[in-house]
């Protein structure tokens, strides 16, 4: 593509976006760094403006959508209009059905990204999910499991190592004592009591999966079931399922941390049968985790 054609393409795509979404022209001076008069001249084809990818990236802040998707017209027009005229925090339909989770359950991941990569990196991850970073202003916002799965996928694609992905499920426990489930389990006397209390309070932990559990001798058996009829998108993504299940294996291991003990990693098996994702965890309580000497808060 010649430079001229490229310039025309970017201008044309921006005009299309304005026309399709109804984005008020008064928003464009901040996006293009031009005066209102120049914008009006451009809109009425009286002058050209050097529109580039970076200008579509600036639109991310207004539309809460990935800049490249905006340029290539791969976005939901209705959602874009809602973001412009109602609230930039409106969730895409993909995340707004079966909203059984709270945003707070993924906040530690965003915090980790900001700490190690910076705010822009974290924002770009969220734009790729067609979500505004401003949604994290209200951690009680409800989302569904798709959001969590997509977030893990996006983070992995952005280059986090497996060790980093693993630590994402554990760092949540550094602040979990502030949550209801953290307070409940934190009152346990020992590791068996940790899992006993957890088994009576799964509703404070997660409501996407169905839980059943029992103590057999020195073992704690936990079975979790995810009905895939409610999560069709996830059912088709093997890699995503694997990532989610590994995340959950580590997550379930870390509850003893709440009473100052080392994590207890369960032997885990999972499979998909009868339209359900079934995972079975076996915790060997005989292993008797040691107190945390190396994890004391600094």
């Amino acid at each position: 593509m010649t430079k001229r054609k490229e310039r025309e393409f970017y201008e044309q795509q921006l005009k299309k976006l304005v026309a399709k979404t109804g984005l008020p022209l008064r928003r464009l001076p901040e996006v293009l760094d031009k005066s209102s008069e120049q914008i009006l001249g451009w809109w009425s084809d009286r002058l050209h403006l050097p529109v580039k990818q970076e200008h579509f990236n600036r639109l991310q802040g207004i539309l809460g959508m990935d800049g490249e998707s905006l340029l290539l017209e791969r976005y939901d027009v209705d959602l874009a209009r809602k973001r412009i005229f109602e609230d930039v925090c409106v969730l895409p339909e993909r995340y707004s059905v079966n909203q059984n989770s709270f945003l707070r359950t993924s906040y530690h991941i965003i915090k980790y990204l900001i700490l190690t990569r910076g705010q822009k990196f974290a924002d770009d991850i969220l734009y790729k999910l067609n979500v505004s970073p401003l949604i994290y202003q209200d951690l009680n916002t409800r989302v569904n499991l798709n959001f969590f799965v997509d977030l893990l996928d996006a983070v992995a694609k952005a280059g986090l190592s497996r060790e980093e992905m693993d630590s994402l499920s554990s760092v949540m426990f550094l602040t979990m004592h502030e949550t209801r489930i953290g307070q409940i389990v934190g009152a346990a006397e020992d590791v068996p009591d940790v899992y006993s209390l957890l088994s009576k309070n799964f509703e404070f932990f997660d409501t996407n999966f169905d839980y059943s559990s029992q103590f057999v001798g020195k073992k704690y058996h936990l079975k979790t079931v995810l009905p895939l009829s409610r999560h069709k998108d996830i059912a088709e993504q093997n890699e995503s399922i694997m990532r989610l299940m590994r995340y959950r294996q580590i997550l379930l291991a870390w509850f003893p941390y709440l009473v100052g003990m080392n994590p207890l990693f369960p032997a885990t098996q999972f499979n998909i049968k009868g339209g359900k994702l079934v995972a079975e965890y076996e915790f060997n309580l005989d292993l008797n985790p040691k107190p945390l000497s190396r994890l004391e808060l600094v």
């Binding site: 980790y112 700490l115 190690t116 990569r117 910076g118 990196f121 060790e163 980093e164 693993d166 630590s167 554990s170 760092v171 426990f173 550094l174 694997m242 299940m245 590994r246 294996q249 580590i250 291991a253 080392n262 994590p263 990693f265 369960p266 032997a267 885990t268 098996q269 999972f270 190396r294 994890l295 808060l297 600094v298």
Partner: protein, 102 residues
């Protein structure tokens, strides 16, 4: 600011990788080149690059220079220190646990 030894009791690979990622973040946010940071911290560019990659250990003196140059924050460093301990435990667990999902 906690002491150097409190923050980095072991200076293992996990801590070095996390610290390196944090250095890269802070340097980028401040718009500094590696050369500028290295000069200010009295180290070679190669040494500084290795630090960002988590490929080498660092002394207390070098750490103090980095804190000053890149405006490293105590809360961030404490959090990095905690996360590095989390990563050590997960690493050990993976080696010991039966059926660790891969």
């Amino acid at each position: 600011m906690p002491s150097f030894n409190e923050l980095f009791p072991t200076r293992n690979l996990h801590m070095r990788l996390l610290f390196g990622a944090y250095l890269l973040r802070k340097r980028t946010e401040l718009g500094f080149t590696k050369t500028a940071v290295a000069l200010n911290c009295l180290m070679t560019v190669k040494k500084y690059s290795q630090l960002e990659a988590g490929a080498t250990a660092f002394s207390e003196e070098q750490f103090n220079k980095l804190v000053e140059t890149l405006d490293l924050e105590a809360d961030d460093l404490i959090e990095l220190s905690q996360i590095s301990k989390v990563r050590v435990i997960n690493e050990v667990a993976e080696a010991l646990c039966e059926n660790f999902l891969s």
